[in-house]
Symmetry: C2
Subunit: 300 residues, 2 copies
Amino acid sequence: MKKEKVEIIEVGPRDGLQNEKQSIDTEIKYSFIKKLLTSGLSKIEITSFVRPDRIPQLADSKELCKKLESEDFRKFQCLVPNLKGLNSAMESGMKEISVFTAASDEFTKKNINQTIDESMQTIQEIISIANQNGIRVRGYVSTVIACPYSGSISPEKVLDVVRKLIGLGCYQISLGDTIGVGTPIEIKRLIQTLTREFPIEIFSGHYHNTYGMGVANVYASLELGMRSFDSSSGGLGGCPYATGASGNLATEELVYYLEKEGFETGVDLDKLISASETIEKYLGKKLPSNVYQAMISKNR
Amino acid sequence: MKKEKVEIIEVGPRDGLQNEKQSIDTEIKYSFIKKLLTSGLSKIEITSFVRPDRIPQLADSKELCKKLESEDFRKFQCLVPNLKGLNSAMESGMKEISVFTAASDEFTKKNINQTIDESMQTIQEIISIANQNGIRVRGYVSTVIACPYSGSISPEKVLDVVRKLIGLGCYQISLGDTIGVGTPIEIKRLIQTLTREFPIEIFSGHYHNTYGMGVANVYASLELGMRSFDSSSGGLGGCPYATGASGNLATEELVYYLEKEGFETGVDLDKLISASETIEKYLGKKLPSNVYQAMISKNR
């Protein structure tokens, strides 16, 4: 029987590394991304074209893209906050970008100093030019379950934001449980609300593991037909809203889980672990992924 | 609507602490158990009556029980490996004990220097005397998914062991995924095999989080009607088969998950975290529970 495919969008090099306190050599990022490609990952968010003074960790986006220029850029994504970022991304050869908003005004205000509606203005400008240049645009919606500033978010609020992003031309929506508080019952309620209006195929689950619910939420999403998930190798990234807590769901957990459950991810777990190991050694601190730690300890 | 209850068997003081390298003051254990009781936990495995030279961590079982003597011992359980242990447990006022075997001969041989069948001989002697003294006996079956020495374990093999334990008089069977490799599809296959012959009510899921699958496996078990789970506060315990890896599913994750999914555990999460904090401070190292770390960091 042919296995059903599940898409994994690896966000470690961007979402993961941008939250690290220490700066990371471009050469290390390059080597990390090369190893991620070798593991079989075919969608990697490699960086964000942001103002270097805002996120100094990602100030080397152009240099990084230059180093990667012999690679297939259809495998790469990057975050773009504004037209300036879009231009840099295009100059760097990016074929696919992501735009960012949230389902909470309090969250977008604190993060990008815009209301959700204001962020839609920016996104509209970005998508318009991106599409003219044949660039696909993915939309991130943060705080789909709860906001660190305003609490619970209703599925209807998320639906409203999704409607706008799809209307503006996003081809895929990443549903971010940014603070990782969601449990399966909430994830299912959200997906059921969204899929009353949109097909499940346009959604990707971006579940943080802050409360250890990451895999369970993937399980719930798979039950409702979702077949695309974001994750970060090694669980890189931490939670910016809870110091010392876990952040992104680890790609190792996702691959381990999906492959054992009979899905095809295209990712070689041992090679993925080798990619994470590069970063763990460089950062000099234990990565949060349980699968990573269990497998590394067996190999010792 | 009345919430459905889920039973939690807290194994931190025994399964958790026995794997710690440093010895722990009896006074700290006492204070830990008192706080666990205050949190609302009503089933706590407080110790194991083993030879002090085998597990020095638990050499103070009698002293600990003495300190706890004003408590309701119907809330306590302890592990008993042999008749000598049973006698000590009874002298110490225990009302409920657990016996131990596995679904892999290689595992029981390495752990207790007995085959499964030989362990049944010991268990038969223990249960016979325990029952004469009005003491209830719970049976632990380790390696229900895989053995660290011999690999995969078939559900039929587990069923065979369960049949024997129930035949000997165990009232409940704890199904231990000792190395935490199982995923929902395997857990469901196991439960489905066992419940062809026994009611789901006699089983308790004891899932380790070594590969981050703990909550997802609880999810799968709940779907099949299981309403009893073992866990360890703070995720205490580590994995003795993979140094540096996680072990027991954290009680914090279990309570967080179950309560949000609409079940009743009777446990106050904040008070539980206060219990775990006692041990974290004493051990001087970060506990593996994600919920614990996320909530502690919010309170700082």
